[in-house]
Symmetry: C2
Subunit: 362 residues, 2 copies
């Protein structure tokens, strides 16, 4: 999508040298757009772990390019295995990471060492291009859900949590794809952006990308989402996901489950947008089978933002003697999900519907 009128992807190979990988350092957003040049697999692993790149689909694409960078340095079997292990251990929850690495492994392992580098770059680009096409298809699937609320120019109020926008993918986003498509087609869309503590991806990323593309939005505290639904100011909820089980349970950013409960309580549709690569066909019960990443308590006890003098500063917001806990994801049981917005169409969140729509994958 666009940043101040210029189209971007969130990851691309540098045009000048043809091999280094360019990413936007998302830890610097919204205050500066820093394009980082990544030239080795260790740096890419760090970029994923430290969340310079984040969002399940973008993590997968980044890992794929990480493999390409690793093979460029050393295309041996042992180095391929090392790279797959290193990249696979960067983040525990997103299924796309494992999916992309498995795909790279399958393509590259049979090849001679000489053929591997070019094949790795080609496969990584294919993963990116497919992601863009997939997300555009997700947008087309979701567009009618928004349009149904926007008759005669009526304002369509969508609530979203965290960031499942174009910078969480290669382009378009998942949850935001139908929103961009609705906006670009002239519908009167307005997004309630939940700030999404503790890392504030809503306030710092979703608000930023919607603003840069020109989509009207309002930031609210995560606590306010239920109240907005109670007072009739939300037409539908759309969120992304890091992993969906074959039974339709949805792992997503911590706090998603609370919004699903509120949506059900207020009879508001709660949709989850995802590419089929997010589905983990090996598990059913999200509550017992999805590992939940526990991140640093510092994300809860401190907050980073822009100080009055324009510098980026971190302040402590919890007494120094108080401990904090920081689970990064929660699981929304399928029973609370209105449906899934996928690249193949709308799908009910249950095993029968999922295995029917994705027979070739399930």
């Amino acid at each position: 999508m666009k940043i101040d009128g210029t189209p971007y992807r969130s990851i691309w190979v540098d045009e000048a040298d043809g091999w280094s990988v360019r990413i936007i350092d998302q830890t610097k957003l919204p205050w500066s757009v820093d394009i980082v040049r990544v030239t080795d697999v260790d740096t890419m692993a760090h970029a994923i772990k430290a969340m310079l790149v984040r969002g399940a689909p973008l993590i997968g694409a980044s890992a794929a390019y990480g493999v390409a960078l690793a093979l460029r340095a050393d295309a041996s079997d042992s180095n391929l295995r090392s790279a797959l292990t290193l990249l696979g251990e960067t983040r525990p929850t997103a299924i796309n990471l494992r999916w992309a690495l498995a795909r790279m492994e399958k393509v590259l392992t049979p090849l001679t060492q000489n053929a591997r580098v070019a094949a790795a770059y080609a496969e990584a680009l294919r993963i990116c291009d497919e992601d863009v096409a997939t997300n555009e298809a997700i947008g087309r699937t979701g567009l009618p859900l928004l349009a149904a609320h926007g008759k005669d120019g009526r304002r369509i109020n969508v609530l979203t949590h965290c960031n499942a926008g174009w910078i969480a993918t290669v382009d378009w986003g998942t949850a935001l794809a139908p929103i961009y498509m609705a906006h670009d087609s002239g519908l009167n869309v307005h997004v309630w952006v939940e700030e999404t503590r503790p890392r504030n991806q809503g306030a710092s990323l979703t608000a930023w990308e919607l603003g840069k593309h020109g989509v009207p939005h309002t930031v609210i505290a995560d606590n306010a989402g239920g109240h907005m639904m109670q007072r009739g100011d939300v037409d539908l909820v759309i969120v992304g996901t890091d992993r969906v089980t074959r039974a339709g349970d949805v792992a997503n950013k911590i706090g998603t489950y609370l919004k699903a409960l509120a949506a059900v309580d207020n009879n508001i549709p709660f949709w989850v947008a995802l590419p089929s690569s997010t589905i983990d066909w090996t598990i059913s019960n999200g509550l017992t089978d999805i590992p939940i990443e526990e991140r640093s308590p510092l994300e809860v006890t401190t907050m980073t933002g822009r100080a009055l003098d324009g510098s980026i500063a971190t302040v402590r917001i919890v007494p120094t003697s108080s401990p904090a806990a920081n689970p990064a994801f929660d699981v929304t049981p399928a029973r609370l999900v209105t449906g899934l917005i996928t690249e193949r169409g709308l799908c009910d969140a249950n095993e029968a519907a999922l295995t029917e729509m994705f027979q070739d994958l399930a």
Copy 2:
């Protein structure tokens, strides 16, 4: 309760001069304990409005002392009326404010001007002493609910939202009164403290007061409360309230409703602790009849804390071009409330139970 071993109330008349009013500036917590001397009604009104004092019971006590300060300057009927109006307009949601002012008006109006100042101080002190006794009774009512989960030294996990502790009242607190009582009686209590965005009263006030009194606790993002319940780490929820309707609907800090939904979904008791002065007998339907204060968007777009150099700094956390909305309270329908912890005992959250327990007030 205690600050580092020394017992405090949250509001008191200065012992040296016998008339000025001392409060703890809660906007400075947890980083410094600033005792402010209030000598006139305008300053007290500002202290309530700017939340140097906050929490429904403490707002009522502060307003009562505000009337005393006003009459000390001018005990005329017109000045009494001005003071009641000024103080009554400081905050819209808490019923205790109106309750305390109505009580002061009723006591003071019939008196001669000469008698009013002493009577106002006496009545304000009575309101404070009654609040302490009431909260202690709330603690006794709630204690068995905690004790039931703490057999054989088992850790009792209580989740609370916002601050309904001793500094939200004159002493003991409402939601925290049973917790202090359980802790002081040797039970193994641990509190999940939700940070309570956007003003962070949980992280900055509840964590501070529990820590200063020595109660084990862990701060979590508001988003994490539902997940903690899903994984079995919460035995019960106790929150305070700013207003309860005669039907048992509960207005409390924004986000409370979401935790009630999660508690019901996980079969966890959701208790609301309150003095009967918090009940608004004039209304039934909380969703339609309780005005919800809309506060400054700056509370959402900025965050204040302690910088690395020890100074208190404010950072912006939302892009400057993104608007924000900031409703300060939400309403939890009575159907989601397990029961009310009152100074007279446990009470079901419905009109029949409330009017039976509080026949003299209803």
